[in-house]
Amino acid sequence: MSVHSGRDPQNGSATALEIDDLTVAYNSKPAIWDIDLRVPEGVLMAVIGPNGAGKSTLIKAALKLIPRAAGTVRFYGQPYEHVRGLVGYVPQRGSVDWDFPTTVLDVVSMGLYGRLGWIRRPGQSERESAMHALEQVGMQDFADRQISQLSGGQQQRTFLARALVQDARIYLMDEPFAAVDAVTERAIITILRQLRARGKTVVVVHHDLQTAPEYFDWVTLLNVEIVATGPIATTFTPDNLRQTYGGRVAYLHEGQRIAGLEEE
């Protein structure tokens, strides 16, 4: 599949994800409104905003999992249908029934189903790829474990491994850091940095303002509309945060000092 990437005219770097005029509405109330967004290739980007700001909606609409009222989305200059193999997705952990009768390795193999296509079954090489992905998230000892026996953090790492096995160019992750233990948080951020080092683009819905400047190099501040998007050093500012969150900015100032934004 040939992919000609959309080029950013200003600095020549490729654009991984390009969203124009995207609006999604639930019951005639817009969840996200007229979104224009360029995500350059190779960034580790957080999507940040208050509850109900449309962070998950943005990701789901980009993947056409929910209907759009308006707008276009392009990955590497192509509509999603043409480049599915380049896009990896990590849904929210709570979106599935973890009592489903299957093993960790089997769930990770599901990341390869799209590439296998219809009817073909996963075999030995798929098993090996899945095992490798499990090793990357430190879950190799859990391969044969029934998924209902996992802790929340282990569930999240299983989902991450399922996305890794897709070997995509851009990853969209919905709240991977929500309610996980310290081990998992560390494992995830290590993986995210490895992905960036390999030139992948990662878009993460994130809720923790404290860790955002430490974990990410790019940020989109969202509250139904886009407030600001760009490098975290110049975008994650008290002013922009006030516009995103409203009044509770005293806390935000505090948060930034802790996170060490001032070194810029």
Binding site: N27, V87, Y89, D97, T102, M110, I119, Q146, A182
Partner: protein
């Protein structure tokens, strides 16, 4: 084997170990073999004790029941896992108007009656999906209204038909409760053939059906046609329901559909095994129910099959390893004992150390006063293990008990240090589990660092 003296006896330990694929594989085969043996013994038992006569009719009905049990057992697994058990109920009720309409249009031809049933049932699914997808009505309400409306239409039409002076309508109402005796060899062949076709579809799209059942969102993001697959799966479930209408009737069909799947789920953690086991359970319930109902001509077959299937569910909920009620209670008891022993061991140890020496006896009333029933349980366990002994109304640790307590205590302290100093000492990040020996959880170099840290702190404290 850090905790060796504290480990529970192996007999109890089997309850606490996590289930692996290997043990689960073996268990399934044992269970299938056991079911087959019971089924094989059941036939002479029914002949000699229940005086059931295996005439042509019974053989046909029993075979039909068993085949239907397999088909509905396999497809019912998906209804259960997709949380669509009640959808199954709505769909079987929705089949009734189809039977009546087909009769009015084409007369009494079983094939056409079943096609009619399938059509209205499928329209029921479609309508439920339409309502839940486009309005704010929730699925349970949508299913409730479809169930009631379609069934009401079916009853109204049946009553109308029965009032007509037409002899061929006789017995059409058996579709409500089912009538096994009406089953003939041709029907059995129909069940086998249609069942085989639906199994082929299931086998071809196994991976896709599994994915949309577990995580439809991810399936959609990966380019699978989730709605199409979901409709196909629902259609297969409708097929199973329609095949069972004659035998079980529209009201009880849901029991055949979901019971064996629920029972099978208790014994295994793998979808493939669950489906196979559900087929075995379904065959047993269908066959055995039909045979028992032959004891007396007045016993209806469909309800009896559902009762047998429910017995399998009850047995599974009670005794399945890992999930069953009995096993859960045993595991809770073994946990309670283990934790009590651990707690009282530390109580005795620290009580003695606080008073100067490790083997100092602690008065029993004091222990019981502080810990109550836990103390009684813990002391019994420690005594049984030779970790503590009683003399003059007081309890003291034996040398083996002191050793175990000291190890346990040290392990606890190392874990505490790990929590505090993991970053400073540059230790690998692992999940904290104080029930585990830290030496099993961390590499030796990391444990050595923690032990050094512990000694440093202790030395500083004693100086």
């Amino acid at each position: 084997m850090f905790f060796a003296p504290l480990r529970v006896p192996s007999r109890i330990k089997t309850f606490t170990t996590t289930m692996t694929n290997h043990t689960s594989d073996r268990r399934i085969w044992l269970l299938i073999t056991a079911t087959a043996i019971i089924a094989a013994l059941f036939i002479p038992f029914s002949q000699l004790v229940l005086h059931v006569e295996y005439d042509y009719t019974l053989r046909t009905v029993a075979l039909g029941g068993a085949l239907l049990g397999i088909v509905s057992g396999v497809l019912g697994c998906f209804a259960v896992l997709r949380r669509q058990s009640l959808l199954g109920d709505a769909l079987s009720h929705a089949a009734l108007p189809g039977v009546a309409i087909a009769f009015l249009l084409a007369g009494r031809d079983l094939g056409l009656l079943l096609i009619g049933a399938g059509v209205t049932s499928w329209l029921g699914v479609f309508f439920i999906r339409l309502v839940t997808g486009t309005t704010r009505i929730k699925q349970d309400a949508a299913m409730g209204i479809v169930l009631a409306a379609w069934f009401a239409a079916g009853i109204a039409l049946l009553v109308y038909i029965q009032a007509r002076p037409d002899a061929s309508q006789a017995g059409l109402d058996t579709f409500i409760f089912g009538q096994a005796a009406a089953i003939i060899e041709r029907d059995v062949r129909l069940i086998a053939a249609v069942g085989a076709v639906s199994f082929i579809v299931l086998a071809l799209f196994w991976k896709e059906f599994k994915l949309i059942t577990f995580d439809p969102e991810f399936a959609g993001a990966n380019g699978f046609r989730v709605n199409l697959l979901s409709m196909t799966l629902s259609t297969l479930i409708v097929v199973a329901i329609v095949l069972g209408l004659q035998l079980a009737g529209v009201i009880l069909m849901v029991g055949m559909l979901i019971a064996s799947g629920i029972a099978a789920r208790q014994w295994t953690n793998q979808l493939g095994q669950m489906v196979i086991l559900s087929a075995v359970f379904g065959a047993f319930a269908g066959g055995a129910g039909a045979i028992v109902s032959a004891v007396d001509a007045d016993i209806p077959t469909g309800p009896l099959i559902v009762v047998v299937a429910f017995l399998l569910v009850a047995l599974s909920l009670g005794f399945a390893p890992g999930r069953g009620l009995v096993w859960t209670l045993l595991r809770q008891r073994s946990d309670r004992r283990r934790f009590a022993a651990q707690t009282i061991l530390q109580d005795l140890y620290h009580y003695a150390l606080d008073h100067g020496r490790a083997d100092l006896p602690a008065p029993e009333p004091f222990l019981l006063g502080v810990r109550g029933a836990t103390a009684r349980e813990g002391l019994r366990q420690l005594h049984a293990r030779g970790h503590a002994q009683r003399s003059n109304g007081a309890w003291m640790l034996t040398p083996a008990g002191i050793e175990a307590a000291a190890r346990d205590d040290r392990n606890h302290q190392l874990w505490s240090l790990y929590r505090q100093y993991a970053d400073d000492l540059d230790l690998p990040t692992i999940a904290e589990d104080r029930q585990q020996d830290i030496a099993d959880a961390l590499p030796p170099a990391a444990v050595a660092k923690l032990e050094y840290k512990l000694d440093t702190i202790r030395n500083a404290a004693t100086q």
